[in-house]
Amino acid sequence: MKKRVYLDYSATTPMKQEVLDEMLPYFTEKFGNPSSIHSFGREAKQAIDLSREQLAKSIGAKADEIFFTGGGSEADNWAIKGIAYANRDKGNHIITTKIEHHAVLHTCEYLEKNGFEVTYLEVDAHGRINIDDLKSAIKDQTILITIMFANNEIGTIQPIKEIGQIAKEKKVIFHVDAVQAFGNIKINVNDLNIDLMSLSAHKVYGPKGIGALYIRKGVKIHSLIHGGAQERRRRAGTENLPGIVGFGKAAALADENLEAHIQHVKVLRDKLIKGIMEKVGYVRLNGHPEHRLPGNANFAFEFIEGESLLLSLDMLGIAGSSGSACTSGSLDPSHVLMALGLSHEIAHGSLRLTIGDFTTEEDIDYVLQELPKVVDRLRQMSPLYEKVKGGQK
């Protein structure tokens, strides 16, 4: 079979075998509905209770502060709309950043159409917000600050502790989208003064279609999905039992292996960045040099376009991603890259390679061998590169 090198761990991860093994009995044998009072229901309920504890433990929360959802996007939508509508009497102002995931941004835009006001904080060239900007954005009507822990494209980590401190002082509810950070950074919701936090299992070697929202005890929130009394009446719907079991296991594994995981991906990531910087000209690293996710590398290659880069790599079995507009079918390149102040051309040539637990040193060597050739081939075709070679730049 053709060589396949997966370097898109921030998009999604393969599930670990231990996670699958944990889930398997819950499909066909222990399949009960956790709301049922008979033995089938009770064994299902117990499994969910255990998962909830595993998840709670991994973020320093209490089990009854964990609410399972259908994924990270649902958690974001729920947190933001739920807090907005539950606190409508207190105010209508929300603070977020320009580089949030669409699950946050589009939810905020939806609320803007419905009587809320949203401040989108700028970020610096490395993708970090300015704490003073945040301070001055807070006003009497501010009911929610929602800021991501780490960015999915450029990996930049925000000063969450400082933000949490400010939110606490100003008595504003603080929601954190930690979908990318979870499993890559030690998180303790109490140390960081986080009131709500979104998580997603498929980014940490768990199953797709299951996420969670941490809701600090006492925080008033409306439901997004009404119906049955599941999740202590806050999130209706028959529980995704195997999904929850898998998420619990994945969270427990992520917690146990955190140090080793960080070490493993960081070493490979640094080797990748160093190699590319040495071998390829006209390239820069997007995102923060230090405050970044351990497995994230995001390059901007001048004179070429991201989709053609991705396709060429794919032909070689290398899977990455790009913030190019051509990839997404939208007119503009990634809002994250634009917020960094990159020009359209540069943003178009971005390539994100994200490293995970199954990445090997050979994988990186292979990329370091092939990627420079691909970049070169595409540049030879590019009318923009022509000018550089011709000394016009």
């Binding site: 376009e305 989709e307 051509c326 079918g329 007119l331």
Partner: protein
């Protein structure tokens, strides 16, 4: 996502490069939109004897440029003017809906090079009267 034909023209693009002292050069698109196509024509006796291109753009932009050069090579100027983006798409066995504009760009690039040729030689070419190579044809159609 892409047909085998598109991938073939993307991975093995025909006629990449420049032509020195080209008889017609056309450049369309802009880097802001993420695509620039540049087309060079060598024309002898009203026949396109050589054509080269350079493209900054996605896989489909490169593939459409490549096949467009093949489709006009050896053709008369008049025949080349008949090239439509639809013909380009068909020749590639189709393109995803949001990539159709890349084929429009290829048609524009050819026309723009022909216009350059016509201007240099003070010719009036039927079909180019209303052609404006600076018009923005970069519409990424949204899927619904």
């Amino acid at each position: 996502m892409y047909s085998d034909k598109v991938m073939d023209h993307f991975m093995n693009p025909r006629n990449v490069g420049e032509i020195e002292n080209a008889d017609g050069i056309g450049e369309v698109g802009n880097a802001k939109c993420g695509d620039i196509m540049k087309m060079y024509l060598k024309i002898d006796d009203g026949v396109i004897v050589d054509v080269k291109f350079k493209t900054f753009g996605c896989g489909s932009a490169i593939a459409t440029s490549s096949i467009a050069t093949e489709m006009i090579k050896g053709k008369t100027v008049e025949e080349a003017l008949q090239l439509t983006n639809r013909a380009v798409v068909e020749a590639l066995d189709g393109l995803p809906a949001q990539k159709i504009h890349c084929s429009v760009l290829a048609e524009q690039a050819v026309k723009s090079a022909l216009l350059d040729y016509a201007r240099k030689n003070s010719l009036q070419l039927a079909g180019l009267e209303d052609f404006d190579p600076t018009e923005d044809h970069h519409h990424h159609e949204e899927e619904h």
